[in-house]
Structure formats: C-alpha cells, structure tokens
Subunit: 317 residues, 2 copies
C-alpha cells in the first residue's frame, strides 16, 4: 500500500467513522517509564476498530458486485461492525455467532438490524455453519473478520490517523488475534512513517501468532486459554505475509499481566476497555529493554465488555 | 465577565490543562431522544475540572501576593487539583481532608506532594480545622473549592472550550454542588454564546441549590443524602449572585435515576465517571419537555471513583 492508495482508503472511510481521541496520562508515563499515547477505538462506532474494516470491505466488495446481503462469522466485535455497516449501506446482514456470545453483543447486533444464526462455540463450528449458509445463499457477500485484504486496508486507517496526529511515535503496539489489525497497522506505518517500529502483543495462552512469526509458517490456534477473548483466533494467508514483512516482532504477556494493565487503564485513563485492549500496555511493562524511555503508541482496540465481567475481572484479581 | 476577560483567563489556563475531548453516542441519542454532547473532564489532569479553577486561582492570587504555601479544604477532587497546582508552581500545598476520604484520593494528593491534615467528616469539621490552621499560618494563601471568584473564572474555561467547539449547543447542563462550576459555566456562556440556556442538575437528596434558587437566598445543605458525593456542599456568596442572574433553572433527580444514567454512560460512552457526573444525563431523561429534540451539552465533571465502589453501585442496582 503506497501513500496514494492509503489516501484513497482514508477518503472512503473517514466521513463515516469517529476520529477517535488520543489520550495520555502523566501518572501512567511515570509508572511505566515511557511516553504512552493511547488511540481510543473503544470509542469507535460499534465499540471497536472493526467498524473501520467492515465499512471499507463492504463498500469495496459491493462496488464490484452489488447485492443486498452481507454475511460473516464473529464472536462479537466484527458482528456488531458488520451489522452497523449493513444498516448504514441499507443492506441486510446475516451473522453467524456462537451460542455463548455475551447477551450485550447479541443485543447490539440485533439493535443494528442484523440477523443472527447461532453456531457451536468453537471457531470451526462458526466456519462450518457459515459454509452451510453460503452454500444455500451463494449470492451473499462474505467478509472474513481478519483475513481479508479489504478489512486490513480499512483497519489501516486507525494507525494512519494515529501517526498523522502523532508523527513522533517510535513504536506502535497492537494486540494480535486474527492478525487483521496488526497487518493494517503495518501497512499504514509503511506508507506514513517507515521509521516507526510495529510490534504485535499477544496473550501467552494464545501464542500461535508468535510461533507463526518465529517459524515463518502459520501455526493454528488450538485450545487457546486467555481472558483476552478477542485474541483467540489465528493468522491467515492474507495478513500473514504482510506481518512477516513489516512487523518488528510479536511478544507475549500472561493473563495476570493483562489484568494489571487493565486496572491501570481503568484507574488512570478513566476508560472502559475489553481485556484484549490491555495486552500492549502489559507488554510495555514486561519489555523495558524495548519500550522504556520511548514514545509508544498503543491502539486500544475495543470496549465491548459486560460490566459484570469487568467488575469480576478487576475486583477478584 | 466579558469576552476580553474570558480570553485573558483562557490564555493563562490553556497551556497547562488537557483540552478534553467531546464524546457522543448514536445509541444514547436515540435512547434519550435528543442530541447529547459530553465534555469529558473525567480525562482532565487530576481527574476533574477542578484543576482548571485551582490552577487559575492559585496564579491569580500569587500574582498579588507571592508566598510559598497554598491551602484549602476538600473531600477529594479539589484537594488533588490544588496539590497538583502547587507541584506545578513549585509551591507547597496543605490540604484539610476528612478522615473518611477514599484512600485513592488521599494517595493521589500525596503523589502530587501535598501535605494532608485530616479533619472530622462533615463540611463544618473541615472548615473549623482549616480556620485553626490559618490562624497558626496566616501567610498561607487560602483557596475555597467553589466559593471563590478566581476558581469560578478558571472553571469557566471548561464550558468555554465546549461552546467554542460546539456553538450549536442549545442547553448546557452541569451538576451543582458548591456552585463553582455552574457559576463559571454561566459566565462562559454569557461571554461566548448568550442564546444557550444553562441548567443546574442536582441530586434530590441534596437539593439546597434548587431551594436557594427558588427562594433567592442561600439555603444551607443540612444532612445531604445522595451517592453523588461531590454535590453535598452548598452555594456561597460569590457564586450565588452569578447563578441567580445567568442560570435558567436548577432541577433535581433521584439517586436511582443517577445510577441509571451512570450505567448508560459506562455502557455506551465506555468511560469511567463518578456519580456526580451522571446527574445531568439523568435530568435529560426526567425533563423531556425541556431537553428532548434539543442539542444538549453535558459536562462530565470527574472520574475519581474507586473501582470497587463503581462495581458495587452498578452491579447492585
């Protein structure tokens, strides 16, 4: 993606998304011994950065093939993003979601007018149910939540805005699950600020991306075990080559370290985030050799967490 | 306060405070049947708007009478604000705080280098202890947390920024406790946007300001009973005449209504606020005759709440 391509994508996405604010805290900077800037995608429409990707991917695909039906599978944030995208484009959205999806996410999808087909709880259950649906409805436009170049390009606008607002950023740190945000961030950096380093931050209990990066071939995510529910999925053939080429490193943190970082973000930034969003800050504390005394830009990816879950996580740990 | 005076104050305050963001939510707008804009002073330095007033008041007073010691009494937010102000100005701060102040607020004051003298828990306990201290230390510059014209002028920059960013605001709604923010908001509105109406929102369990407004004479706050701990104090002779002249009305809501609004702000704005900050949104729901279908600007005054308290308030109500 060169700068002209980036500007084209940005022009399509920008009028319809929130230009989310960047927050910082003197106390957090002192505590972590680094300058920390937080791009607040928890304030993005639908509560996560996925709306950027979904909005761009849907428009890109519909411009080639204009149909009335958008579909995808998701455990939560992407379902909300695609449902709202469809509502905005006056299309229909059908989402495959696991039976154990939190009721707040299910209600949000329905509020945007999305139709839900429930599947079993594993990623492969969702994919199988999705394949069944697409066999019966071959006209539907399918969008993958992370392994889709248009999604990656739409996601890139988050880091793009961040770098244009703060060109001084030395390290960009983003959570890695399916890899769609990490790849988009790496592309934006490449176009706008090649000297900035991009790091992926991953839960130790779902370290398939780190293993993939080290072995240079995609390692599947088998039985991931982490509270960072948005980061349990695995990389794909569309985002992995980009990550291999443009990302500095992928590093992990434990769930205990994630919870400590969540508490700090709640207490000093005064905002509500989901556990996945706390992974990069946990990494800053864990790897002072890389991040100390540097200007670190962190993307807070989303804020879709049920209050009881948040209360339980923070008050019981 | 005319526009020239406002610009003078703004120029002193602006370089040292955060230009806090304004957030909004489509779902909240739909739920409340109004356009709602939220000025997020929970993200202000020290976690509340009080830093604006403290910073301006300290500089205004020290410019006339340059001493090394700043002092004041506070149950929390003002103590943090004055301690940080003193740190910034390289002065000493001595704060009278109640013995039952939350440990997070006490720790924050100490982190900014403030010295604390504990008093009994009632406002009059604090005032008596403060008077004792000032008798022994007559050289100290005393700043009242709300009933001080310089505080009021510094606070005015919050509504000022808000109105300059969103001149379309039809109603400005702010919580009223001691009256320092309401008076400052009314003055800023008078200078910048005379057509905008200013409303005070007060807990029904501490409705002394409403009674004062209706009777046109200050009614003391006796045994206030509300979860909005920042709003239990009473109006004073400096802010009351301004409120009487420039404020449209002061209206009340119950604690149950405050908690409902807190939940909505947590869930849809994804931010952490203290109960006092939720009072204006509760008022929007309660008074559709005034606020429905209007563009309402709400100042979210602060975010200094212990997580366990927040969790308890929201999950048990």
């Amino acid at each position: 993606m060169n700068l002209t391509e980036y500007r084209h994508i940005q022009n399509i996405v920008r009028p319809h998304i929130s230009q989310t604010p960047v927050l910082s805290s003197t106390i957090l900077n002192e505590t972590y011994g680094a300058k920390l800037l937080f791009k607040c995608e928890n304030f993005q429409k639908t509560g996560s950065f996925k709306f950027r990707g979904a909005l761009y991917a849907a428009q890109a695909k519909l411009s080639k093939h204009n149909v009335d039906l958008l579909t995808g599978h998701s455990s939560g944030n992407f379902a909300q993003a695609l449902a709202k995208t469809a509502q905005f484009l006056k299309k229909q959205a059908v989402l495959v979601m696991p039976e154990n999806a939190p009721s707040t996410k299910v209600e949000a999808v329905q509020r945007y007018g999305g139709e839900i087909i429930f599947s079993g709880n594993s990623p492969s259950d969702r994919e199988n149910k999705m394949a069944e649906y697409l066999k019966i409805n071959p006209e539907a436009v399918f969008i993958h939540p992370s392994n889709d170049l248009d999604m990656i390009h739409g996601n890139a606008t988050c880091a793009g805005e961040f770098l244009e607002m703060h060109p001084e950023i030395e390290n960009l740190i983003v959570p890695v699950g399916g890899g769609g945000l990490l790849a988009g961030t790496a592309l934006a950096r490449h176009s706008l600020s090649p000297e900035t380093a991009v790091y992926g931050a991953e839960p130790a209990g779902a370290d398939d991306a780190q293993k993939s990066f080290q072995s240079q071939s995609i390692v599947p995510s088998i039985a991931p075990d982490t509270i960072a529910d948005g980061l349990r999925t695995q990389l794909g053939d569309q985002n992995f080559p980009i990550i291999l080429e443009y990302v500095e490193d992928i590093l992990t943190v434990t769930d205990e370290e994630i919870i400590e970082a969540m508490k700090d973000i709640y207490r000093f930034l005064k905002i509500v985030i989901e556990p996945s969003s706390a992974v990069p800050l946990a990494l800053v504390r864990k790897q002072p050799r890389i991040f100390k005394d540097k200007i670190n830009g962190i993307i807070l990816t989303g804020g879709n967490i049920d209050f009881r879950t948040l209360a339980h996580l923070i008050t019981n740990n």
